[in-house]
């Protein structure tokens, strides 16, 4: 017996007898000698629960988390407050432990959650079709690409550089597999260059990809970008941040065909990057090309309303090599957190939240740009995140400035230079409802001091 097994010596004897063998070893006889492991695995010995807890606690303590510093770090995942009801509901065995609902009669809870989730995403995106979740944001962009590739068989993707670097790269990785090429369209004044965009699109364009708000926090004119692609027959894919979507023109109203995005900010923890979920919504036209699970409403033999996994002929377990995707296990529990969070915010609440972010972000942008050595990176409208440049030479200078601030307990944001050569001194600053005015003012003060110190340091070097 180890930690979670229960075979007593008596059990073992009667079980071996029933099987008709004299030892457990015999049950492994099928494994050829040549591939049998004749030693113990080289692993640390097992530990009692209390020691495992202590060990994991000590590891946790060696991380600086959002409770240990005032963080303005975003760039794809955001430190929103996760309401306590979510912990309680996700902790319930009935939601936490079941497998994918293959037996609908005893899985109506999970199936109805999917149905409600699909409805919420459909409302948010103003698109009629949503699946029950995909892995996360960037891979959802890749999945949208595969949908387009299967839909029109064309060979090129046109991608705005406003997309999150991880999304662009994931798309490249997958494209290399299913055989499409990727061309990128640069930004101008912080938003996708509309001329370059239009010029890049032709009848070989399988899909175009924009992000809203884009990686620099700027609100794109999604409608204009979508329309520019319409004529070509390319699939218009938009990657959205769901919370700003509460006040931004939704994809469905802009001519976007497929809307995807990272769902973390909807009631999911940061978790160092996962698990969260990706949402995937589309127009009616792509209903039967959707990847992943979709719950549908139906009735039972007694006429009672019920829910099932539907349109499964799209899926790998039925369609195998002809499936619209290979996805099987997705992110159901995280999607549950998403729909609970959206219901918790409610129809009015989500708008209030987004308007709150709009106001505080504007305040923060102004406060930071008033700091000596800080300048706006673009003037576009922003909702929850904005980009500035720091007058500190280059990426290394930015890193040192960030470091100084973190040593003082404030994480000022993300160094854009880590991904974008065109913005070596860029800093991306994110605001959530947990970042107060007082914290923003503190950031401004610290940033000023850190930049001054950095420049002083530079001058030193110059002299030396």
């Amino acid at each position: 017996m180890s930690r979670y097994t229960a075979t007593t010596p008596e059990d073992l004897q009667s079980m071996l007898a029933a099987i008709g063998v004299s030892s457990v070893e015999e049950l492994f006889a099928a494994i050829p000698d040549g591939v049998r492991l004749r030693r113990d695995l080289d692993l640390p010995p097992g530990m009692p629960e209390q020691d495992v807890y202590e060990h994991l606690l000590s590891l946790a303590r060696r991380n600086t988390c959002a409770e240990d510093e005032v963080t303005f770090l975003g760039a794809g995942m955001y430190d929103h407050y996760v309401p306590a009801v979510i912990d309680m509901l996700l902790g319930r065995s009935e939601f936490l432990t079941p497998y994918t609902p293959y037996q609908p009669e005893i899985s109506q809870g999970g199936l109805q959650v999917m149905f409600e989730y699909q409805t919420a995403i459909s409302e948010l995106t103003a698109l009629p079709v949503s699946n029950a979740s995909v892995y996360e944001g960037p891979s959802a962009v890749g999945a949208a690409g595969y949908l387009a590739k299967l839909a029109n068989g064309r060979r090129r993707f046109v991608v705005s550089r406003g997309l999150h670097p991880h999304s662009r790269e994931t798309l490249r990785t997958l494209s290399h597999g299913y055989g499409t090429e990727v061309v990128e369209v640069p930004l101008r004044d912080g938003v996708t260059d509309q001329e370059a965009w239009a010029a890049a699109i032709d009848d070989e364009t399988a899909a175009v990809f924009l992000q809203q708000p884009n990686f620099l926090g700027a609100v794109e004119d999604a409608h204009a970008l979508a329309q520019a692609a319409k004529a070509s027959g390319a699939v218009v894919v938009g990657s959205y941040d769901p919370i700003p979507l509460a006040i931004l023109a939704p994809p469905g109203d802009c001519g976007v065909d497929v809307a995807v995005g990272e769902g973390q900010s909807l009631g999911n923890r940061l978790d160092f990057g996962g698990p969260s979920f990706g949402f995937f919504a589309a127009t009616e036209a792509y209903l039967r090309r959707m990847p992943g699970r979709i719950a549908g409403e139906t009735h039972d033999v007694d006429g009672r309303r019920g829910f099932v996994l539907t349109l499964q002929t799209r899926e790998q377990h039925i369609r195998r090599e002809k499936a619209t995707s290979n996805i099987c296990t997705a992110q159901a529990l995280n999607a549950l957190a998403g729909v609970v969070y959206l219901s918790w915010l409610g129809r009015e609440g989500i708008v209030e939240l987004a308007e709150l972010l709009l106001q505080r972000t504007a305040y923060a942008r102004e406060a930071l740009c008033a700091v000596e050595g800080v300048a706006a990176l673009h003037e576009q409208p922003v909702v929850r995140e904005f980009a500035v440049q720091l007058d500190v030479g280059g990426l290394e200078g930015v890193r040192r400035v960030i470091d100084r601030c973190q040593d003082a307990g404030v994480n000022p944001g993300y160094a854009l230079g880590r991904d974008l050569d065109e913005h070596p001194t860029g800093l991306l600053v994110a605001i959530t409802e947990q970042r107060t005015r007082e914290q923003i003012d503190r950031l401004a003060g610290m940033l000023g001091a850190a930049i001054a110190a950095e420049r002083a340091g530079e001058r030193e070097e110059v002299r030396a």
Partner: protein, 510 residues
């Protein structure tokens, strides 16, 4: 119909109770203006919203989200949860899914703020605990699979498969080869062929021999210089360990192809046999199966991959690094991997899943993991023996004599002689308070029942399940209509899936 429920015998296990009242969605509850969320004050000088966000970029009509109070919200989802059967309700022998006990310790440690509230882009120097955890998990998984390099990034098994086939492509391309085909046995899980297509290869099926292993003749016939890879599950989805694995590996490697290990069935061989030692080049793990990440009703999971040296240059980045320094090891993330296939997703993967599986491995250690596989195989063979004894004629074992951690019965005789199908048996099991096994998979077995008890079940539970199956078979001999009409005790009874697909209603009407 359900009026008959009480006259219909139920085993002592008893059906798990569930809400049987009519389904009402959260969108049909509440009232205009109700809310759970109370928004903080902006606390900054108010600016004209339209000036900050011009009208033409704005949403015209708010999304019609639910309007409920917190008490309504809680009751709705608590009651919904009661419409689910779950692992803590009873036995869940869903073959190929390894529904083992989910220790709550894992939820506790994953919820520690230092893990749960850590931002993925935190400076690695300030995330040393997380990186050390990932490093340690990689080392442990590498040892378990017998391959030197592990990358944790993929989000699930199928994602790991995609990584694996893309790695195969990168490997061949690096050697100037453009192979076109990938071999998958007819026992393969659907994600295998689907992955192959997604990765731009053609699927070629390989047959199964009478013992349930790969048909070597058929393999020889198909493995040529156009074959990039053979994807194998071992033990496979029949619960059969392929005794020819060494020969298979030789054939594949001689053809210059890679050998891919679908790790969904790793629970059978931990500490007993290692894919790396079997000759596999690439392995994926299902942390949500073998390493007990709770399934969450369909995720999250994680599908790390292990690879051999020749594949290592191509692995997805970032890669966790460990540098020895005078004051101990320092961990980092390496993005500078020129030959890498690139990213498969954002950030570093499903870290929260890593925490749980790492806690599991540290709880069990080498001995514990071996005990896991030994007990999983013992339980499967015991249940097989009991079923043979009780219903061997109606539900014979599809292949071989014994099994590894799971086994496949064929419901064909039962269908022929008793007039009830595997599906009916499964539905009737619901009334007995058991989750049915996986049904109609693998495809090559007629009326298949794929049964995986896992190591965390007791002998008493296995006996009760065997007796429930026997009771259903006996009942069907008397009156097949009972099974044909099942289930009776569930929130809803058999659902019209055809209607759902014909006229899809996939969101609440406005």
């Amino acid at each position: 119909m359900s009026a008959r429920l009480e006259e219909i015998p139920i085993t002592s296990a008893g059906a798990t109770p569930m809400q049987r009242d009519p389904a009402v969605t959260i969108f049909e509850k509440g009232a205009a203006g109700r809310r759970a969320f109370h928004c903080p004050e902006p606390g900054v000088p108010a600016r004209d919203p339209d000036e900050l966000l011009p009208r033409h970029l704005r949403r015209r009509e708010p999304a019609r989200l639910p309007e409920v109070s917190e008490p309504e919200l809680v009751r709705h989802y608590v009651r919904l949860s009661r419409r689910n059967f779950d692992l803590d309700s009873g036995f869940y022998p869903l073959g190929s899914c390894t529904m083992k006990h989910n220790p709550r310790l894992h939820e506790r440690v994953a919820a520690l703020p230092g893990h749960a509230r850590l931002h993925p882009l935190q400076d690695p120097r300030r995330a040393q605990g997380a990186l050390e955890l990932m490093w340690n998990l990689e080392r442990a998984l590498a040892e378990i699979a017998g391959l030197p390099h592990v990358v944790l990034q993929p989000s699930a098994g199928s994602h790991g498969e995609l990584a694996g086939v893309l790695l195969t492509r990168a490997y061949h391309e690096s050697r100037g080869e453009r192979r076109t085909k990938v071999l998958t046995p007819d026992t393969a899980h659907g994600t295998n062929p689907a992955t192959v297509t997604m990765a731009g290869y053609e699927v070629v099926k390989v047959g199964t021999n009478p013992d349930g292993g790969v048909d070597l003749e058929d393999l020889r016939a198909h493995v040529d210089d156009q074959v990039a890879c053979l994807m194998l599950t071992n033990p496979n989805t029949l619960g059969v360990f392929d005794t020819n694995i060494e020969e298979i590996a030789r054939l594949v490697h001689d053809a210059g192809a890679t050998l891919y290990y679908d790790g969904a069935n790793l629970n059978a061989v931990m500490g007993k046999s290692r894919p790396g030692d079997m000759g596999f080049d690439i392995v994926h793990y299902n942390l949500h199966k073998s390493f007990t990440q709770p399934h969450g009703g369909g995720g999250p999971g994680a599908g790390p991959i292990a690879v051999s040296d020749r594949i290592e240059p191509f692995v997805p980045h970032p890669v966790v690094t460990c540098t020895q320094t005078p004051d101990g090891p320092v961990f980092g993330l390496d993005d500078d991997r020129p030959q890498s296939i690139g990213r498969l997703r954002g950030f570093q993967g499903n870290y929260g899943v890593f925490v749980r599986s790492y806690a599991y491995i540290r709880s069990l250690g080498a001995e514990g993991l071996r005990d896991v596989s030994e007990t999983a195989v013992l339980n499967a063979n015991y249940l097989l023996a009991r079923l043979r004894e009780l219903v061997g004629d109606a539900l014979p074992l599809a292949f071989g004599e014994r099994c590894m951690h799971e086994f496949v019965l064929s419901g064909a005789p039962m269908k022929k002689e008793l007039g009830i199908r595997t599906l009916d048996l499964a539905k009737r099991l619901l009334d007995h308070g058991f989750h049915p096994p996986t049904v109609y998979f693998p495809l090559l077995v007629d009326e298949a029942l794929l049964i995986e008890p896992t190591e965390t079940e007791t002998k008493e539970t296995l006996d009760a399940f065997a007796e429930a199956i026997a009771a259903i078979v006996a009942e069907a001999r008397e009156d097949p209509n009972i099974a044909l009409g099942a289930p009776y005790t569930t929130p809803v009874r058999r659902l019209d899936e055809a209607a759902a697909a014909k006229h899809p209603v996939i969101r609440q009407a406005r």
